[in-house]
Symmetry: C3
Subunit: 471 residues, 3 copies
């Protein structure tokens, strides 16, 4: 696999972006339209409904933006020489992925009579899809070019849409916060790509792979933004106000207990009792990932317990599992997405099975019962034939459905990641040279102070030209 | 008083956190539940009310989070060697204090038939209580260990709840923004603790007690976040929409005039007319503290005047009163909470008395009259016997009630602070050694660049071990 | 023109601020009042309306604050030695301008029976006016004293109010997001001032006019905050929910396509394909400026196209037009407001004319038709006599109205800027000496680390005293 910086960034990035954006603009002009409100306007009830609707959904829209662009952007800027790469490529990929998801989901779900009718929820749905691309990219951050990242998300989004449809249609998965559909999917897709793009020289820490106190501080600030708006993320798809209320409070509780667990365990692991910034930046959020799947169904105390468990497993993952997997199966997980999204996602899936199986005995059974009854309405679903062999959809069937949704998502995403990785390895796409992993100066006109002092600007240019000659 | 770093952080912090979090989880599982909406669901009106309710309260919930975790977190990160201590311990204490307040307030106010029924307002109330702990901790920031801070807030929260109940029950205090209940209380509680923990070596500026331009900049950014969401804080408890509207605009006006006053006075005080960053970071917010008590009752012009007065008194406090009190009564107020919360709180209390006494002659009397009439409904209140000696609750009684509420809060908080301070001084709890005041490297695994260059990592470890031997 | 730092900052700034704030407080006390809700309270419908109203408008109020104080404040902090000047003077001028706009707009629009009745929308309107002052100030940032900036905005606000009234009254301008009224106006006002304050020594880059990676990073973070809340800005004045919905989504789309265009074009322009941080910080927002004028009227595809075009023109402006104008007409545009507000504003105006002329053939014609019909209700408008010479207001008339509004705004603002510039040049006001352009240490008590190492504190003081002697 060639990792010299052979094809020029200047040739590929503008062309790819212009091409994709041009196609998207054309598609939007040809196919996408707003609902015609003039037809509706006589029906005042509909108009009113619409108003309430906008008041309810616009704040969530902004909250999700704060999470994606500020929260995740800052969080990914933890490397001192790659802070612009962290925040700016997140910004680029997010924008690309949202537009692309709007098109894919539009044709998949909302295409009617030659047109896709657009509502604000569609944009919100697209942003949830985009999250997947942003999480996955964390696995290969700093050692892939923006060209590769664009192709990466171009392939991931359609697969996400299909898998999301699959687990809802066939397994009636209960997963309000996207623990399986978003976190598990993006984690194993990203790890699949990373596996194929395995770079042996990264077995040792790369000299540029370092933080400084400012980048660590801003990254933690990003964590806090994600933390604050996570309750919105987990509650926005709730169908009743009670479910929404429970999802908000439970997510907050899981995050809160996860945070305290993070401080406790991190201090315990260090021989001098000091807190690790990496754990603080990541494990504080593990509760939000795990609780997502049952945020509307669990009791307050249960939410606390899940949060503790998630943070615990996340830190143990960083401390023991990641190094082990790095040795055994050559896993290279740059941002530790396996620890923040994979493991807490598994904890969440297991919790959902426990809640579903023992749930009906407690207060929150009502909504669960309603969900199961809702599922019974769709009794012709093929899944009943596979799992149920009976006429009703019981809690046990639902528990099996959760497990199956996890399994399918795991398989689909890992396989998709492998295939995507193979494509990204093709030498025709821009790869950063290993000397310029985690280095902003390859991609940005950065001020002098942040440049790697050993390489002057001209030396870099010279070096790149030389590399080109050797191909 | 022993201030060597004797008991190990690693022994105490994880144990304390795990213990407290474990107890909290158990309490939540045993006692805390959501309202059973299935019972309610036939009554559609109630459901509707609920919906409006969530739409109204969830945004405030997020605003308060932005204030606590981003605003206050950034603001407290002004020391260059203690920026993680500022933001991360604020994060830790906030989470702990919110959980603890939920339990204390739950048993105090909402315990019924063996269960505490949880609503989103309860969480919001708990966050107001937690604010108290965060403000108070400012007085001893950087010279107390997280173990001490946890115990600190564990003791402060119950006292806050009792005092809050006291001033409402017995003095019918008018105080929508918590000027007395939150700001005065937390200020004098914190100063009480600081008084007992008096450290003579801090009479001179500690070598590590310094800012740099980045920490000052981010701290000011925190001030701006607090500034933006303060109108939410002061208006969230308003009972009518008119009161809420006035509270929002008046708080904004008081902050705005306070900010301009800060620029003016700060420039006037410096011999070259330059603005002090400390004053900018703090006095810009003084208007918000002072106006809180009458945010719903005052006229726009009055709000402007109170804002000017509050900023003025805050800066004069920093410039003249704090150094005086430091000499005379050995006050050690690390973040200047006396200037930002104490003095503007007194200005606010006095303003409230003026407004109540002369209020009925102007437009905003209506709501005040209603409040006084509301108080008359609770005419069996013992306070009438003490203060009123009559059957009606007049403006004069209310003015006396305000003064009494201030006095009681002052006494209770200062006394509580003294007792808490005595406990925290016990040598069994982890104390930072004076060489490591204001130093992140004692508590965090920070990157090399931000370490105090004179002490290498190993030297620190050696030093700590040596300290331990001398006990 | 004298640019030594002759009149003392300490004499002028506090006096000016205290004077202005004092006058404002007096005006508010004498003239400004809240509506008397006690009169209204029997009419429950009105009360209800009010409630919905506050729920709808308060979030926008906070969003605009996040844009003004956090977004714009951070964005303007891109110079490493002038980061406090960027964020703090933005904070000062914003507060001053909002108060002043409340008074000017209050007397202009809401003065009745000796009183100005205050609503939350009035504050929002005042903030839109204040935006103008903040944008304009970008043209002379770092080379004007706060005293000059205060006078600057004191003169700009009334002219903005008059021009805004003019283009609405006489040209029925369609401009929901203020592309003409705010962006075009503030751009040419600012450039007018900058033209008069022309400083020959700035033809070469000033030694202090440099960024570092931290200031560039935080500035980009500011861009992201502006980006996130721009849909609020462009939609807040919408009169129907459909219009509001379209304005939100279209603004988001224009920003998104503009961002991708920025990455593409910026990479194309650089010989090594690297992204320029300046373009990223600015051109990412160009779509929001351009789409404002037709955010409620255009189709989704159209919004995408306008966004691409706006970002394209913005970058070409930075790359080619600004250097050309600097040489030819001595334009000195510190923050490039011509490229971010002027050129995209022109693109927006042209787009609005195209949409209005060809609009009626597509779906969004309904609202446009309604607007034209609304205009027909005001048929006695003198503009019909000038433009229309007929009894109905057609799309062609509206297109002419848009062009005329642009022309008038351009002329009024440029002329106003010239006059303001002449006043600011008067030697009686504090001017920074050219050695202290872009230098925080003239205005702030900054920590040692960020001082220009060549000048010690005492040297600076000495230098200032010497300057004073020479007058």
């Amino acid at each position: 696999m060639s990792i010299v910086f052979s094809p020029s960034l200047r040739c590929q990035l503008p062309v790819l972006l212009a091409l994709l954006q041009g196609i998207f603009v054309a598609i939007f002009i040809m196919f996408v339209t707003y609902e015609d409100h003039s037809i509706r306007s006589p029906f005042h009830n509909l108009t009113e409904e619409k108003e309430d609707h906008l008041t309810a959904i616009f704040p969530s829209f902004k909250d999700v933006h704060l999470m994606l662009f500020v929260g995740l952007g800052l969080m990914l800027s933890f490397l001192k020489l790659y802070s612009f790469g962290g925040i700016a490529f997140n910004f680029l990929i997010a924008n690309f992925a949202i537009q692309w998801s709007l098109i894919v989901q539009g044709f998949f779900y909302h295409y009617k009579e030659g047109k896709i009718s657009l509502r604000l929820e569609n944009v919100l749905d697209a942003e949830f899809a985009a999250v997947t691309a942003l999480i996955s990219a964390g696995a290969v951050m700093g050692r892939t070019s923006p060209v590769q990242l664009l192709l990466f998300s171009a392939l991931e989004i359609p697969l996400f849409v299909v898998n999301d449809w699959l687990v809802n249609k066939y397994f009636h998965v209960i997963d309000i916060g996207g623990t399986i559909a978003i976190h598990i999917f993006s984690c194993y897709f990203g790890l699949g790509v990373a596996q194929i793009l395995y770079q042996p020289e990264l077995r040792k820490t790369h000299p540029k792979e370092a933080t400084n106190s400012n980048s660590d501080f801003l990254s933690f600030l990003g964590t806090i933004f994600l933390w604050i708006f996570w309750p919105t993320f987990n509650s926005v798809l709730a169908k009743t106000e009670a479910a929404r209320l429970h999802a908000i409070i439970n997510t907050f509780f899981a995050l809160s207990s996860g945070t305290i667990t993070t401080f406790a365990l991190s201090s315990l692991i260090d021989r001098r009792g000091r807190i690790s910034l990496v754990y603080l930046q990541n494990a504080s959020l593990a509760g939000g990932v795990a609780i997502g799947i049952i945020a509307d169904l669990i009791s307050p105390g249960g939410a606390f317990a899940v949060g503790c468990l998630a943070a615990l497993s996340c830190i143990l993952g960083y401390q023991y599992l990641s190094p082990f997997l790095a040795r055994k199966i050559k896993m290279q997980d740059q941002c530790g997405i396996h620890n923040l999204h994979g493991i807490p996602g598994i904890i969440g899936t297991l919790s959902s099975i426990v809640v579903i199986l023992i749930g009906p005995t407690n207060t929150y059974s009502t909504s669960l019962h309603e969900m199961l009854n809702d599922s019974n309405l769709g009794i012709q679903s093929p899944v009943l034939e596979v799992f149920g062999n009976q006429n009703t959809w019981t809690a046990k069937d639902q528990a099996l459905g959760q497990a199956a949704a996890f399994g399918v998502t795991f398989g689909v995403s890992l396989l998709g990641g492998y295939i995507t990785g193979l494509l990204l390895r093709l030498p025709c796409f821009v790869h950063p040279s290993k000397d310029y992993f985690f280095d902003d100066q390859l991609y940005f006109q950065i001020p002098e102070d942040n440049k790697n002092k050993s390489t002057t600007n001209e030396k870099l240019h010279q070096h790149l030209l030389t590399s080109l000659k050797h191909i």
